[in-house]
């Protein structure tokens, strides 16, 4: 007892977790490295900005998956279908409010985008809750079965999208005032990409604040480290799991809306196509790390843009090369998450 008393009377300064800065320098280092190869600075700025925006969109789609994996140790191969589902959910809003997209008012256009996002997040959140209950819950703890069963969920949900909205691709127009690009001198930045950067940054900062500054975030982080202990302290870890899964699905829906407006066509397979990138990103970032996912997304998007400009043939496999290099350097990804 005296030991404990002595400990508690010691200075209350807790040792702070050391921030791992090295991977963070990777992004600016890569950008600077690419500069001499690209040549013209204005092209370089254009490529970098476009890459950043692309990275934000990938981050939006990947963040939910890595969050779910981090807390629940669940790998959801069906995550891609939530991206598709979120994209198709925009049709619910775009149908009755088609006029808002044509209106030449930035307020109405952004309101429409906001409504689309809300609707998509609501739909994917609800489907996510069902998905968790029906598909995922019976297979907690077994990765092999999770992969299989979520693939099954993917097939069924994708077919259900076909059954509800039809199998042919559906074009969706970008709202009027989000088309076109801002031009500063030789630097070009598509307007829509600016919106994507703003939303991506907002989500990233929101997640960081939630995870690091709130009680809920504390519980989630504690759950990642040791779920039994959190449960023993009287918190319902199951409820936490479900809400994180719903949040992860809703984030996929949000990413799906952004991705859909970027592509301007809807197909049921669009989520699965982008899943390859998403997996690469979360492997690079370290499975379960939101910050790593953010850095990884930007890294992958920037490399794809630079390589696509310098040597287009190589761009097809640039992602794989980045992943291989990162894994050789750090086999657990940029920010390894402590595993139980």
């Amino acid at each position: 007892m005296s030991d404990m008393a002595a400990e508690s009377s010691a200075p209350t300064e807790l040792p702070r977790a050391k921030t791992d800065w090295l991977p963070l320098f990777l992004v600016p280092a890569l950008a600077l490295l690419a500069l001499p190869f690209v040549g013209s600075p204005s092209t370089w700025v254009t490529l970098t900005l476009a890459g950043l925006a692309m990275g934000m969109m990938i981050f939006l789609m990947a963040s939910g998956l890595t969050l779910v994996f981090g807390l629940m140790d669940i790998i959801n191969f069906g995550h891609g279908v939530f991206i598709s589902l979120g994209a198709y959910a925009t049709l619910i809003v775009l149908g009755p409010l088609a006029g808002w997209a044509q209106a030449d008012s930035i307020g109405l256009n952004l309101a429409l985008l906001g409504l689309c996002i809300l609707c998509a997040m609501a739909v994917t959140g609800v489907v996510g809750a069902v998905f968790e209950r029906v598909i995922v819950r019976p297979v907690y703890g077994s990765h092999l079965k999770q992969i299989l069963v979520t693939m099954g969920g993917l097939i069924v949900t994708e077919q259900a999208i076909h059954a509800i909205w039809g199998a042919s691709p559906i074009p969706i127009p970008l709202p009027q005032s989000l088309r076109g690009a801002f031009v500063f001198g030789d630097v070009v930045m598509e307007r829509y990409r600016v919106v994507a950067v703003v939303i991506g940054l907002a989500v990233f900062l929101g997640m960081q604040l939630l995870l690091n500054r709130t009680r809920l975030g504390l519980l989630i982080r504690a759950g990642v480290e040791n779920p039994e202990m959190v449960e023993a302290l009287g918190y319902r870890i199951r409820r936490l799991f479900v809400s994180v899964f719903i949040a992860g699905s809703a984030l996929a829906g949000l990413g799906g809306v952004m991705w859909a407006f970027y592509r301007q066509t809807l197909t049921a397979g669009m989520g699965m196509e982008v899943m390859v990138l998403v997996f690469i990103v979360i492997i690079i970032g370290g499975l379960g790390s939101v910050g790593g996912c953010f850095v990884g997304s930007i890294l992958v998007a920037l490399v794809a843009n630079y390589v696509g400009f310098i040597e287009p043939k190589l761009a097809l496999i640039s992602n794989i090369l980045v992943m291989a290099l990162v894994l050789i350097w750090r086999p657990q990804g940029l920010f390894p998450v402590a595993r139980r």
């Binding site: 297979v139 092999l144 076909h162 059954a163």
Partner: protein, 372 residues
């Protein structure tokens, strides 16, 4: 990674019996009367298809079943016996197909060029499988799934982009060696009303090579090597503690599986006289393979036979049935959409989920349980 009792088949030394059949099947007999009857029926039907049915569609379906049995069995070596999920299996299938297609198209239709193509494809597959295995199996099995997915999609993109080598999206059509062409006659007289031509020889080439590879795989999973794989699947740490090098065994399993898939791809290309991204490389084939393995029965080679036969038949004939059902329900709101012929995957997907939960041993596990 726990598996259900239905999956775990403890090796019983008393099962090791002598006798021709037992040796042929590596002492791994079907162990269920119904299963034996079904397997025998599939074997006999596949062996006799060209003589039983007229027209090219049944023979084509039978050849596809043969090829998929090999493909699915080799995948089961990974999924069912080693407990790792790969999404790059179609990549190796495609490499086999492209090996044959490129060799026969570039070097002329001879057996020599087919052999060169096959050997080159096997070598490429082995190198890729080793590289992927060493890079990703070192860390966690779950990395392997994601990395193989990424690599496979890169391979599919490469195949459709490098059009001067692979023919791009159109794929490659090529001529077979003369003795496999329809115009070739082995015998001047038809047997049982069937002309013994090159097409028939091609079918039996596919049939017998598939049978051989299947028996070889059966031999491998019942060898001491196969036991170690199952031990690793059941408890990785314990196997490692016993002194087995888990990474080496898993990598070896993925190489063997990749080689068998390459052979299946080569057979597919030989039969179709064509290879393209859609016939061997697409992600939907990967999904099909998963469905076949799980519905047929993971961890049993016979599951591959049942799964492949059932799935290919369903692919060809279930849609007809569903079309009739859909037409009968026309006028109702969403029901006709759900049983529309194009939605057949919806139902197989649901069956797949139910399989994983309710009977992890698939159809084969179910039949074997019923006997006990």
């Amino acid at each position: 990674m726990s598996t259900s009792p239905a999956l775990a088949l403890p090796f019983d030394e008393t099962r090791r019996r002598s006798g021709f059949l037992s040796t042929l099947l590596s002492s791994d007999l079907p162990r269920s009367r119904v299963l034996s009857v079904i397997l025998l029926a599939i074997l006999l039907l596949l062996a006799a298809t060209p003589f039983l049915f007229s027209g090219s569609q049944p023979v084509g379906t039978a050849a596809k079943i043969c090829v998929f049995i090999v493909l699915v069995a080799s995948y089961d070596l990974l999924l069912g016996y080693s407990g790792i999920v790969s999404f790059a299996h179609t990549m190796f299938f495609g490499i086999g197909g492209y090996g044959i297609a490129i060799a026969l198209e570039r070097m002329g239709p001879s057996w020599g060029s087919a052999a060169i193509g096959l050997v080159a494809a096997l070598a490429l597959s082995a190198v890729l499988a080793i590289a992927i295995g060493l890079l990703s199996l070192r860390v966690r099995a779950i990395f392997f799934s994601m990395i193989t997915l990424a690599v496979a999609s890169a391979a599919a993109v490469l195949a459709s982009q490098l059009s001067n080598i692979t023919g791009g999206e159109d794929g490659l059509s090529f001529q077979l060696p003369p003795s496999l062409r329809p115009a070739f006659r082995l015998l001047s007289e038809p047997i049982f009303g069937t002309v013994i031509n090159g097409r028939l020889i091609a079918y039996y080439l596919v049939f017998f090579v598939s049978l051989l590879v299947f028996l070889a795989l059966l031999r491998i999973v019942n060898s001491p090597f196969g036991r170690v794989l199952q031990a690793i699947r059941e408890n990785e740490f314990r196997a490692e503690a016993l002194g087995y090098r888990v990474v080496a065994y898993r990598t070896a399993a993925s190489v063997i599986s990749a080689l068998a898939a390459t052979i299946a791809g080569a057979l597919m290309a030989l039969w179709l006289r064509y290879n393209g991204p859609d016939t061997t490389l697409s992600f939907s084939i990967m999904v099909d393979i998963l469905l076949m393995v799980v519905i047929g029965g993971m961890g049993t080679m016979y599951g591959a036979v049942i799964g492949a036969a059932l799935f290919v038949l369903a692919q060809s004939y279930l849609q007809v049935l569903m079309g009739a059902g859909s037409a009968a329900l026309a006028g109702l709101p969403i029901l006709p959409n759900i049983i529309h012929p194009d939605r057949w995957l919806l139902w197989l997907g649901a069956l797949f989920i139910v399989s994983v939960y309710a009977f992890p041993g698939g159809i084969v596990g179910r039949l074997r349980q019923a006997r006990q």
